[in-house]
Amino acid sequence: MLSYIIRRAGGMIVSIFIVISVTFILMHSVPGNPASVLLGPNATPEQVQNLNESWGLNRPILTQYYKYVVNIFQGKFGRSIYYQKPVLSIISQRAETSIFLGLMSLLVVVSVGVSGGIIASIKPNSWVDNLLLLVALAGASVPSFWLGLMLMNLFAGQLHLLPSSGFTSVLKTGNIVNLKNLILPSIALGFVNAALVARSARSSMLDVLNREYVNTARAKGLKELRVIVKHAFRNAAIPITTIISFTFAKMVSAAVVTENVFALPGIGSLVVQGILKRDYPVIQGVMLVVAILYVVINFLTDLTYGYLDPRIRYG
């Protein structure tokens, strides 16, 4: 077990290193630079040059890369060129929004996806099953920004039921009602990702429901609901967990778009702004954090298997 964790950790570090290097190269090959964006279209080339100079962006790219990597290993993520604040503090400021959005969307994904999948699996190939599958797939076939805009127009613009955009910290203000700003975004984000989970839940359940021990349970005269919840679902949970963790990676991507639609101050909109403004340290910081999250979640998923299914051994 221990050697497995060490090996995985080594692999994770290599992956993360590749991610930061690629990000660095990518960002520094983008045309345009922070000074030209900040000073705007009417600045003279000398003014742009001077500002880049004082930010140290005119140094050779290898020197900058070396410095960047050294800093990372010292835990220094750099300062945002725009906001003139440490990147980590900006990311942590904005993490709250993304985390709440992620959790609420996951709630949508799990409640719609898992329950839909289970219901569909009870009577396979019935019209209920087909309908649920169709709805789930239709959800996965709609771009989340399209769904977001439609929901916003209807619920905020026309019916005035829910706020259209923005999000104020819950942790800072202690006001849990602020979460209502995240209802529309999490539906837009969650619904389009629920399909995958629903299909996986359905097929895993079908798989399990046909197993002998489930039939045994039935034969013992247990109620069908009990069979489904206690015996079948527990064993179907592994593949469902996997797919939920896969869904996480997809959701990070979709959240970038959703946060932009609803003007949510999260990590996703931060990175888009960062790219458009050429705020290199911010982009690198976010990519690094997301990459770490991704590998850690993958790792945790693998460990969860062991918990859910003791037969799996880590060799």
């Binding site: 983008v30 045309p31 345009g32 630079n33 030209s36 964006v37 900040l38 000073l39 705007g40 279209p41 009417n42 600045a43 003279t44 080339p45 003014q47 001077n50 500002l51 004082s54 930010w55 945002s80 725009y82 906001y83 003139q84 604040k85 900006i90 400021q93 904005r94 805009l149 916003m152 127009n153 905020a156 613009g157 005035h160 829910l162 706020p163 259209s164 955009s165 923005g166 932009n260 639609v261 609803f262 003007a263 101050p265 909109s269 931060l270 702004q273 458009l276 403004k277 050429r278």
Partner: protein, 529 residues
């Protein structure tokens, strides 16, 4: 006590009494108008609020509440003293003496003195984006005493106060130590210390900028007019949120999340007028000018004859409709300055809006045009400009030009457009706000993309800057406009207005004295509960 002394005493007493009355009156009225928070949705996030290094409208909106200059524009865009009690210009027009108002406090509690003004102006002179024509004539700035600053010029400069009042890339007064520490870099947000009616509180990256009423604000004695005069801060705080999606800004005002939203697509006016609780705000005072820059130095349009051919081909009606939608929001106009501005001149405007593809074809053929590509560049995030470029492309193709359109994100677009050494474009699309003086019109600058650099314009420009009499300068401007239509360094499509939205409870903005200006401002405004 002499006769004169007594008179002076009486005068002082009368003034004091009057002041007390005015103050108590305005305080009483102020009580009813005291409001809590104002929520404003901005379309884009500013890069910095340090206006010396920013020409962005988005930046200027919060910045106007925090920082002030020596002068400010009144509702007619005439510069009025703001941080000054008075100023004078020497007989020969070469020495300007500025008398600062006393007891003006910065947000850090220190009093503004001549030292701060000198340091701020010097920093701007070194790094400011629009120092150009003025600073090349400044010989020196010196502090005479705590409240007096003297500026010496090498030659008279007519638009001096205009340059000092200008906010876009213009000089704002900050404490000397902050100006010196910042140098060529933008002032860090934690050092945003100005003299304005609101002080900076927080900039949450990509989310909002929040300001708070500055209780020790020292008001100028003059009546409110545009950006100048008395500024009463009725709102306890102001929050400028960044909301990039136009639909979200409008829905937000409708749902009561915001009190004001900037830059809304003009076609939305029907839904805004039709829905309870929202009022449209049309910023037509002054309009903005959508303009197509032409590369006069390289490529097929380096030939002025070819530029005239392009000019002949354009049908401005469709171009403006594509860019600005609803006809209430645009107007064809062959003059550079819009109606109501004293610089307005229709000289040369016969060549505007010819909509004559046949003529264009003939001119181009005569100039030897043989299907060389005309590369048009535009930023996709500037929607109106992109929309116009598409129509221009079609019109040019109709006139037989091989017009090619390329779209970029803003940063890449500006980088390409400004790259003179290897300019790979013939036409570039932008828009400009009205400048208070013709000398500030960017296209006149030989370093500005398009790079209009002929003998004729150089000599006219020199004349414009050194002449001080308005009538004479107006004459020069008319000549410049004639030349403009002949040499075609850029083509202005028309006047365009922006649509903003306000919640109907927001009062005191868009009035006689506080009209809708180039960008919104919220002192003297309040919210009805």
């Amino acid at each position: 006590m002499t006769e004169r002394g007594r008179l002076n005493m009486w005068r002082t007493l009368t003034v004091l009494l009057a002041l007390t009355l005015v103050m108590s009156f305005s305080l009483a009225a102020a009580d009813e108008k005291q409001s809590g928070a104002l929520n404003v949705a901005l379309a884009s996030e500013p890069g910095t609020l340090d206006m010396a290094l920013s020409t962005g409208v988005a930046a200027s909106i919060p910045a106007r509440h925090v920082f002030e200059g020596l002068f400010a524009f009144d509702k007619n865009y005439k510069p009025q003293p703001m941080l000054l009690s008075s100023w004078e210009l020497s007989e020969d027009g070469k020495v300007a003496t500025f008398h600062l108002r006393e007891n003006v406090t910065f947000h850090n509690g220190e009093e503004m003195s001549a030292e701060d003004v000198v340091a701020s102006l010097n920093r701007w002179g070194e790094h400011g984006l629009t120092k150009g024509a003025l600073w090349s004539r400044v010989e020196g700035i010196e502090q005479v005493d705590d409240y007096t600053v003297k500026m010496t010029l090498t030659e008279p400069f007519a638009p001096l106060t205009t340059y000092l009042a200008n906010v876009y890339g213009g000089p704002r007064i900050v404490p000397a130590e902050i100006a010196e520490e910042a140098g060529g870099e933008p002032i860090a947000p934690e050092h945003y210390v100005g003299t304005g009616p609101y002080k900076f509180v927080e900039w949450k990256a990509g989310d909002y900028i929040s300001l708070e009423r500055f209780n020790d604000y020292s008001n100028p004695p003059t009546a409110p007019s545009g950006f100048a005069g008395r500024k009463l801060a009725y709102f306890e705080n102001i929050k400028f949120s960044m909301v990039s999606e136009a639909g979200a800004r409008v829905s937000g005002v409708k749902a009561g999340n915001y009190d004001y939203a900037t830059k809304v697509p003009t076609d939305m006016i029907a839904t805004i007028e039709g829905s309870a609780g929202t009022e449209p705000v049309i910023t037509d005072h002054p309009p903005i000018y959508p303009i197509m820059l032409i590369n006069t130095q390289t490529g097929v349009l380096a030939d002025a004859e070819m530029r005239r051919a392009v000019q002949a081909a354009l049908d401005m009606d469709s171009i403006m409709a594509a860019g600005y939608g609803n006809p209430r929001f645009w107007k064809l106009d062959g003059a550079y300055f819009a109606e109501g501005i004293r610089w307005r001149s229709l000289a040369g405007a016969d060549a505007y809006d010819q909509a004559d593809p046949e003529k264009a074809k003939e001119i181009a053929e005569a100039a030897g045009y043989d299907g060389e590509p005309i590369d048009m560049i535009v930023a996709i995030d500037m929607t109106a400009q992109y929309n116009q470029s598409l129509v221009v492309r079609n019109q040019l193709r109709q006139a037989g030009f091989n017009a090619q359109l390329e779209t970029f994100d803003k940063a890449t677009f500006f980088q390409r457009r400004n790259d003179r050494a290897n300019a790979e474009w013939e036409l570039a699309f932008s828009f400009y706000s009205t400048t208070p003086d013709p000398s500030l019109v960017l296209m006149l600058n030989e370093d500005y993309p398009g790079w209009w650099d002929t003998e004729e314009i150089e000599s006219l420009k020199a004349e414009l800057n050194t002449t001080t009499d308005f009538e004479e300068r107006y004459g020069v401007w008319e000549e410049i406009r004639e030349l403009w239509y002949e040499q075609v360094p850029a083509i202005k499509f028309g006047d365009a207005y922006q649509l903003h939205v306000r919640g109907e409870t927001l009062k005191g903005y868009g009035t006689e004295d506080q009209p809708v200006m180039v960008s919104p401002y919220f002192w003297n405004a309040w919210k009805e509960s």
